[in-house]
């Protein structure tokens, strides 16, 4: 395997990343020398027991946390030693999908998606609104444009969240257990939708999941334990779909 930081086209290149929480006697190392590369358009699933540092890795790649030691490059930009403003700027090209849907309660589905589209520059209000409607149609919610999150089911809310993340035209999508709050069928549907749309956009995906039923959507499966990573084989598709493998 080539060292990820050596690949200049990689969406994400993590090299020898270490991270600690707490200070003094309570200082605890959660990441112990992580190496990870994600190519453009690649779908990478990250699994592992809870508390092993998956979410920490996700927040570091997502430019939500300051890098302490090692190197994280996203779209070729080094995050170690980055300023708050640089990280905020970079986050505009990273889509995020959360375990809870984290939609704005006071906005309708359409307005929530438009909050994502509003991050695009140089578009008129109408263009951004049309974009939001298009994305909601793409996730199959054209009949629910004016509904508040309160009136949507769990699966519908997560689809709105996907539409919102994609509306900002991200080049990297980070998802933290997007199926955790969903039942089996809905979870499967949401993840397949996510994979299809991301692939259409040529957007890389890094998804943390505990859910063994969805591992087959991955191009590559990575396992984490005690702050270290290794590659794992992608299980065969249960549904009989042909999946593109990265190897």
């Amino acid at each position: 395997m080539t060292l990820p930081h050596a690949d200049p086209d990689a969406s994400v290149a993590v090299f020898d990343l270490c991270h600690w929480y707490g200070s003094g006697i309570n200082r605890r190392q959660v990441l112990q020398g992580i190496d990870l590369g994600i190519r453009p358009g690649e779908v990478v699933l990250l699994t592992g027991p809870s508390g092993c540092g998956k979410t920490t890795l996700l927040t570091l790649v997502g430019a939500l946390r300051q890098v302490q030691q090692g190197s994280v490059r996203v779209f070729g930009r080094e995050l170690a030693g980055s300023t708050r403003a640089e990280r905020q700027q970079l986050r505009r090209s990273i889509g995020m999908i959360f375990q809870g849907h984290n939609l704005l309660r006071c906005l309708t589905a359409e307005q929530n998606v438009q909050m994502g589209a509003d991050l695009l520059e140089g578009l008129s209000y109408r263009a951004r609104r049309d974009l939001a409607r298009e994305w909601l149609r793409a996730v199959g919610l054209s009949d629910h444009l004016g509904k508040l999150p309160h009136d949507l089911s769990g699966g519908q809310k997560q689809r709105v969240a996907i539409a919102r993340a994609l509306a900002a035209e991200p080049r990297l999508l980070l998802a933290d257990e997007p199926t955790a709050a969903l039942d089996k069928t809905t979870g499967r549907e949401v993840v397949e939708l996510l994979q299809r749309l991301a692939r259409e956009q040529g957007c890389s995906v890094l998804m943390v999941t505990h859910d063994p039923r969805i591992l087959d959507v991955a191009d590559r499966l990575v396992q984490m334990e005690d702050g270290r990573l290794w590659d794992a084989p992608v299980p065969r598709a249960q549904t009989g779909q042909v999946l593109v493998s990265s190897d």
């Binding site: 939500l64 986050r91 984290n102 704005l104 309660r105 008129s124 209000y125 109408r126 919102r164 900002a168």
Partner: protein, 389 residues
């Protein structure tokens, strides 16, 4: 135009506020209440000061002579009438009116109790008030012992206007001497006087026989059109001896207001009341905005994770404050308008919604809302996008 459409965003502040109508209603009620409190307190304060110059405003004068010993309208000292004649020598002085001014005891003809009333004495042929209606009525004062009664005087002086209109002969005592009401005028009570009567110089001197000869309390000076009152005042001040003080009409009103402002606690009390309203409003708005930010903290953190700048989010809170200020001010202004009408009819105080006070209260509500918004913004610093995963 194009840039407007490009910069137009979802009105997040408006939606945050309006999608919780109950909370918004509480917030607006609180702000409106604070605004009404400020309107009432400031209105009373200004109204009381204005009321102290109800009569002063009516005089037809550009400059006014008073004794330097005079401190206010309730203690007018005399000065030589000759000063007014000396002032006539100035080419820009068109005319003068000597006026006698004193508080006398009026006997209520119905209850026989006495009460202080402001009596003005002048030559019935001279111009006294700006309102030309008085000149015709003043003719009846040429008869001795006749007075014009101010029908806006407080009711404690007796049902004079009512009786007079019924055609009765209304006679009573002023300073122990018999007078007859020969007509009605509408002047209005002021701070120092609950009622007013106007009489001729001759009658006045009969009521006040101890007035030194040639002494008056007030001298009105009218200037030719186009002359500068301040310049003439300065010139007269140089020419006249220092047993008179000279004021412009505005200065004459200010002198009186200033007496009540500095020698009574009215200004302090009502300003304090308005300040209380301000503080109460601040607490309410801060509570509302703070809990709003706290409730939506995960949502703000999500927006930050999406790449929105902290400044944009601070702008959302600031706009919420602005919307609250505007929406809260409107009912406060309307209620203030209604309450002022109520006060006017109840107390005859000249309280009205003037532009300056409207602006002042808006500025205070605005400061209250924006200040609270800035306080609530500190809570936004707690929104850590790394915590929402």
């Amino acid at each position: 135009m194009l840039s407007f459409w490009q910069s137009r965003r979802i009105p997040l502040s408006w939606l945050l506020l309006t999608r919780q109508p109950a909370r918004l209603a509480v917030a607006l009620a609180g702000i409106a209440f604070a605004g009404i409190l400020m309107f009432m307190q400031l209105g009373f304060r200004d109204g009381l000061f204005d009321a102290s110059v109800t009569i002063h405003k009516l005089f037809d004068a550009d400059l006014v002579l008073m004794s330097p010993r005079t401190m206010s309208s309730i203690g007018m000292a005399g000065f030589p009438r000759r000063r007014l004649i000396q002032a006539m020598a100035d080419p820009q002085v068109e005319g003068t009116t000597p006026v006698h001014w004193n508080l006398l005891l009026w006997r209520n003809p119905q209850t026989r109790s006495t009460r202080s009333i402001l009596a003005l004495g002048f030559e019935p042929g001279d111009p006294l008030f700006i309102d030309p209606g008085l000149a015709a009525k003043a003719q009846v004062l040429n008869q001795r012992g006749r007075v014009l009664f101010d029908e806006l005087s407080r009711p404690e002086f007796g049902p004079i206007a009512e009786w007079f209109r019924q055609g009765k002969v209304v006679e009573t005592e002023v300073a122990g001497k018999r007078v007859r009401v020969a007509g009605l005028v509408a002047l209005g009570p002021s701070f120092g006087a609950d009622g007013n009567i106007i009489t001729s110089r001759e009658t006045f001197l009969r009521l006040m026989p101890n007035t030194p000869p040639g002494s008056i309390e007030l001298g009105l000076i009218r200037l030719t059109t186009g002359s500068d009152p301040a310049a003439v005042a300065a010139r007269l001040k140089r020419q006249l001896p220092d047993d008179v003080s000279i004021y412009t009409k505005k200065g004459f009103e200010e002198f009186e207001k200033n007496y009540w402002r500095s020698s009574t606690a009215i200004g302090f009390i009502f300003t304090l009341g308005a300040a209380m309203g301000f503080v109460v409003g601040c607490v309410i708005v801060y509570q509302i905005l703070y809990s709003d930010v706290s409730d939506h903290l995960p949502e703000y953190a999500t927006l930050m994770a999406m790449g929105y700048r902290l400044l944009t989010l601070l702008g959302v809170v600031a706009r919420e404050g602005f919307i609250l200020a505007v929406l809260g001010y409107v009912p406060a202004w309307l209620a203030g308008q209604g309450l002022y009408a109520l006060v006017r009819s109840g107390t005859r105080l000249p309280v009205s919604m003037d532009g300056q006070r409207s602006l002042l209260v808006f500025a205070m509500i605005f400061a209250m809302c924006m200040g609270s918004a800035f306080m609530a913004m500190r809570k936004l610093a707690d929104a850590d996008p790394a915590e929402i995963f």
